[in-house]
């Protein structure tokens, strides 16, 4: 079973995403801020990471950086309310994220992208 780490500060959003991904048969880990995110990356070795770029305590960029260093092959999907032309998002692309899903989003679409990323 594939393990997916979801780093998102809005609990309703993350529980929604979790619900959807569980239905597709993934195991999910929920964390609500950057610090926990870094810990979870170190400890649980996920197969895919879904993260926001703007969060309390640690910026998404740092998480992406950290994940790239420690888990270079794990796909990362950025889920963010910032536009695609936004600088932070561009920076995230530079660091090599797999996909970008802007908020507002459709969980079904996200699930499809997860599937594609894990192929």
């Amino acid at each position: 079973m594939k393990k997916i780490l979801i780093i998102e500060d809005d609990l309703l959003i993350s529980s929604l995403v979790q619900f959807r991904l569980k239905r597709d048969g993934y195991e999910t880990i929920l964390v609500k801020d950057g610090n926990e995110g870094i810990e979870a990356i170190n400890e649980s070795n996920p197969d895919l990471i879904i993260t926001d770029v703007m969060m309390p305590f640690k910026s998404g960029i740092e998480i992406i950086n950290h994940a790239r260093k420690n888990l270079p092959d794990t796909p990362i999907i950025v889920l963010s309310s910032l536009g695609e032309e936004e600088e932070v998002v561009l920076e995230a692309f530079h660091l090599g994220v797999t996909d970008f899903v802007p908020k507002p989003f459709n969980p079904n679409e996200l699930a499809l992208r997860v599937k594609r990323a894990l192929k």
């Binding site: 610090n35 703007m54 309390p56 305590f57 640690k58 910026s59 740092e62 309310s81 910032l82 536009g83 936004e86």
Partner: protein, 487 residues
């Protein structure tokens, strides 16, 4: 006859002190009420505001962050990095190296790949000589400008920054302040929101970072400082920022925006001639001058205040340092009030002249003197034996209660509005500080304030005169500028 006069004076003093105590109490009650109302409105308003918009909108104003640096080599690089990572679309960071004697400049050059440019510096506001303007070759530091100049003090450094700034809003900050990443968006909002009045300046609350956990420019865990003097300043911070400034902002009577974190409209700052370098209270002086300018031009205006915790700074926990700070504040207050004497009690200057100015004169400038006189008065009566013990205790009790209740209110206020100090133990320690403050720390504050007065009077001969002449030329410049604007 002299005997009679003496007693008569004592009687008159008694009456004056009665009136004063009455007004102190009245004023504090009013401040409590106003601040509560203002905070309620502010929080309600905040519910409807989406700060995301402002980061990317083409209609958001540009912001020039200006931070003077003097001998900051230990921390400057990290501080500048965190300034550059603020969440905002259109902003620049201007660091003014005010003739540091250490390696501040070299550290910056190395860290940010700076190069000396051929920028043609023109001092619209007169400043000390500029040695060079540095920019980075690296595109990711394109927001950064460094000015290297001869030492001229904080106000002079800020003026140099203002001269070179490109944006319409100036954010004048202390370089060692910790700014939360959304601080610009929140501080800019009052400028954008007002419709009928021109917002000339917006002040922010300064939090106390001592003993707190800080990560990425935000305080993650609040703890009260270990020393009593540090905790006292936490209580004072609640009183000054959450209560005092909130209340003043409600009646648009703010006279002081903290020099560590203030936003100003550039055109007005230029119109009044920038900071006035010959005073130690340059932050207060600028606000008063800007307000005065607007009153004289009869343009409706506002000075805003944002109570959100956005900026933190380490406060001195060393008594000597705190003493110097308080002494300087007192001198700054006296100087500002003296320089702008003519606005006092003039209806033409509205709230500024009729309310703020007298308040500052009596409750800030004269406070230590009045307290000392009050004490002497009480002592005299005690020595004369003509003073009942009950009476004496009642007076003391009243003053003690006053300070306690006001402090309690303000700490509660903080709890209600932001609830930053979450640990119950911290709260108890704060309450302990409140109980001890009137006895332990307040007398020192009064004494330091009084010394400020003394230093001001001593300095008056040479340096005080210099202030006035310097101010005069600043005034003239202001008039000249306003003429050219009018024409």
């Amino acid at each position: 006859m002299y005997n009679f006069l003496f007693y008569f004076l004592i009687e008159v003093f008694g009456v004056i002190f009665m009136i004063l105590s009455f007004s102190v109490i009245l004023v504090y009650l009013l401040i409590m009420i106003f601040s509560a109302l203002e905070m309620r409105d502010y929080r309600r308003k905040n519910r409807f505001i989406d700060y995301q918009d402002i980061i990317t909108s083409p209609l958001a104003p540009g912001v020039s962050i200006i931070a003077p640096a003097f001998n900051e080599e230990a921390t400057i690089v990290n501080n500048v990095k965190s300034l550059l990572s603020l969440h905002y679309g259109k902003f620049e960071v201007i660091i003014v190296n005010d003739g540091s004697r250490d390696n501040t400049l070299q550290k910056l050059i190395n860290a940010f790949q700076l190069q000396k440019t051929e920028f043609f510096y023109y001092s619209e506001i007169k400043t000390q000589a500029i040695r060079g303007v540095y920019r980075s070759e690296n595109k990711s530091f394109r927001r950064l400008t460094i000015i290297d100049k001869e030492n001229g003090g904080k106000a002079d450094a800020l003026n140099a920054g203002i001269n070179i700034s490109q944006m319409e809003i100036l954010a004048c900050i202390d370089v060692d302040c910790i700014l939360s990443s959304d601080s610009i968006t929140r501080m800019v909002r009052p400028f954008m929101e007002e419709t009928n009045k021109k917002v000339i300046a917006v002040g922010g609350a300064i939090g106390i970072a001592n003993n707190c956990d800080i990560k990425d420019g935000t305080v993650t865990t609040y703890r009260v400082p270990e020393s009593a003097i540090g905790r006292f300043q936490v209580v004072e911070y609640c009183r000054a920022f959450l209560m005092g400034r909130m209340a003043w902002s409600r009646i648009n009577g703010l006279m002081l925006i903290s020099g560590a974190f203030g936003f100003f409209k550039k055109d007005i700052v230029l119109a009044v001639g920038g900071y006035f370098p010959n005073t130690v209270g340059e932050d207060m002086e600028l606000v008063v001058r800007m307000r005065r300018y607007m009153q004289e031009k009869r343009i409706p205006y506002r000075v805003g205040f944002v109570p959100d915790p956005l900026c933190w700074t380490e406060v001195p926990e060393d008594e000597k340092v705190l003493e110097r700070q308080r002494n300087r504040w007192m001198r700054g207050t006296i100087e500002t009030l003296q320089l702008h004497q003519k606005i006092g009690l003039k209806p033409r200057y509205g709230i500024l002249g009729m309310v703020s100015f007298p308040f500052w004169t009596v409750f800030e400038k004269l406070a230590p003197i009045l307290e000392i006189i009050g004490l002497l008065y009480t002592l005299t009566l005690l020595i004369l034996g003509d003073f009942s013990v009950v009476y004496f205790i009642a007076l003391l009790l009243m003053i003690y209660l006053l300070s306690m209740l006001v402090s309690t209110f303000s700490v509660l206020f903080e709890q209600l509005a932001f609830n930053n100090y979450k640990n119950k133990k911290d709260l108890y320690r704060l309450i302990g500080t409140i109980l001890l403050e009137p006895i332990m720390i307040h007398p020192k504050i009064v004494w330091w304030g009084l010394k400020g007065h003394i230093d001001f009077i001593i300095g008056r001969g040479g340096w005080g005169k210099m202030i006035r002449t310097g101010f005069k030329s600043a005034e003239e410049r202001k008039n000249l500028d306003s003429q050219s604007i009018a024409s």
